[in-house]
Symmetry: C2
Subunit: 311 residues, 2 copies
């Protein structure tokens, strides 16, 4: 263990956990374009010795999938037992299967989508507008010591409003007033406002703004149907035995109908599909926090796969 700090999905992956590292070799690939280890707009361009910034090539979800395949080649892995992807990770998993139809035997998609909807595009486009409108963004040439923090902060706030659900907030915050009223006119009087402020502030400084722009746009561009007349045709070449598709009823960023669409299309393309719609109230983020509902579903599905292989 080279990095002992807790990760994003501790309850799901580990020894004895639903995705059991005592049984499987688990590879978690950082996205190409992101600023946490893979090459992205904040990486140094060897040709210039300076960060790529906006000279980084246009990034698509397909590029992210291609980079994952290069890693598998490097590791000498020809086929995966199960490909697992939540949210944008599910898009990357689908893109990898489009490129490499026989790369995996099984697939788990969680709160993902076969294409970005206009509502999701609207939300992400406005986040990008907010960042690029921050005077400190400087057409991507910002100082890394003084980045467009205010734009990133507000873009993150907008993200947070789409990651959870109105239902959760109604129960969790209601109309409670904040105890830590900040000296900001017109903002931060209610607990919901403090929650957004606090969580947005945590994000600022941890994510490179240009990387955020590239990854955000890549999601808008994603459409599994690109190479086929419809989703069924796009999925037909894919050689999967089993798929688990999980949706969350309170997710309004990537709503349940998009999960159902994937489940139906995978099934029509010849995959045995288990489809589960969970009643989590945490919206799109539920897979990160609702251990109670998510852990048993993934655990039982993995056990079924394991039994089928033994039998």
């Amino acid at each position: 263990v080279k990095d002992p700090s807790p990760g994003w999905w501790e309850f799901m992956i580990g020894p004895g956990h639903p995705i059991d590292t005592s049984q499987y070799f688990v590879i978690c690939v950082n996205s190409l374009g992101s600023c946490f280890g893979s090459t992205g707009p904040s990486s140094i361009d060897p040709a210039t010795g300076c960060p790529y910034r906006l000279t980084f090539p246009d990034l698509t979800v397909d590029d992210i999938a291609a980079s994952a395949k290069l890693l598998l080649n490097e590791l000498g892995i020809q086929q995966l037992h199960t490909l697992v992807g939540p949210s944008m990770g599910g898009m990357s998993a689908l893109a990898l299967l489009r490129r490499e139809p026989e790369i995996a035997s099984n697939l788990i998609l969680i709160s993902s989508a076969a294409h970005a909807t206009p509502f999701a595009i609207a939300m992400r486009s406005l986040q990008r507008d907010i960042i690029t409108s921050d005077p400190k963004w400087q057409q991507g040439e910002y100082s890394y010591q003084d980045p467009p923090a205010n734009g990133v902060r507000m873009a993150r706030k907008l993200g947070l409003t789409t990651y959870r659900s109105p239902e959760e907030w109604l129960v969790r915050f209601g109309r409670k007033k904040s105890r830590n009223i900040q000296n900001k006119p017109f903002v931060s009087e209610f607990e919901i406002e403090s929650y957004l402020d606090y969580n947005a502030a945590k994000f600022v400084g941890s994510f490179d703004p240009n990387c955020y722009l590239y990854l955000s746009r890549a999601m808008d561009w994603f459409d599994m149907k690109e190479n086929g007349a419809n989703l069924h045709q796009a999925l037909t070449p894919i050689q999967l035995d089993n798929a688990l598709v999980i949706g969350v009823q309170s997710d309004f960023l990537i709503p349940e109908w998009q999960q159902k669409e994937l489940a139906v299309a995978l099934n029509e393309a010849g995959t045995r599909v288990e489809y589960v719609a969970l009643e989590s109230v945490q919206g799109h983020d539920a897979f990160l926090v609702d251990e109670e509902r998510f852990a048993p579903v993934v655990r039982q599905h993995m056990a079924k796969l394991s039994t089928a292989e033994t039998a």
Copy 2:
């Protein structure tokens, strides 16, 4: 007719229209705090000869209701036939009834609410954050020739994403690319993005930013329950004969359950209530555009009231 330009609700109000001006004398009150005729932050403070700006007193929906009552006094009107309020107008109607329980015999509430939810507060709070973060806002002391147009533009974009519905945009825009691609990096490639750009640009310059902040915060502050332990108790003093409450299934800013809550509470408080949930896809804005569904409901309700009075 002193102003011949078309208004916001032409299909609803006029001679022969559902709210029939050949039968009723219709008064439409501009909100206190708004910049279209009533006194607000952009009005001249007689004490200084300069606009009030942020020295304008804190504005509540109750203040807006109180100013409407002053207008009725001025006109010599003691009782109204029907009080009609869509959205924030419904909040104002409820606040007026809280102050003056016998002011009207009938009530029509459309896509309104007894209180602002944390989700609606989050969306409006972020809009205010975006405006007040525009360097040109200058703590409210902006130049009227060079206002914080960029902040207002993005706040309006966010507003637009909450006024319509994901369902409408899916059918209307899907993933169509825009024909007028603007030279803005990371923004404005899809039709949905052009739609937001176009409509946000129309708004900039037409609404004073400080007025926007005051009115937006007034909605967050609104809670009909303030003077009672629950909504039933808050509504009990109100002396209404009939109420029509209309909700829209695709409205996620002020969702259908908030309309149902009002209908149930008004009924329990002794009002005859007609509750209608419409299947409009236009979300919160439906009452402004879905003539086909809204006009007959209001027309028939008004006819019933008229018949009951004749009988």
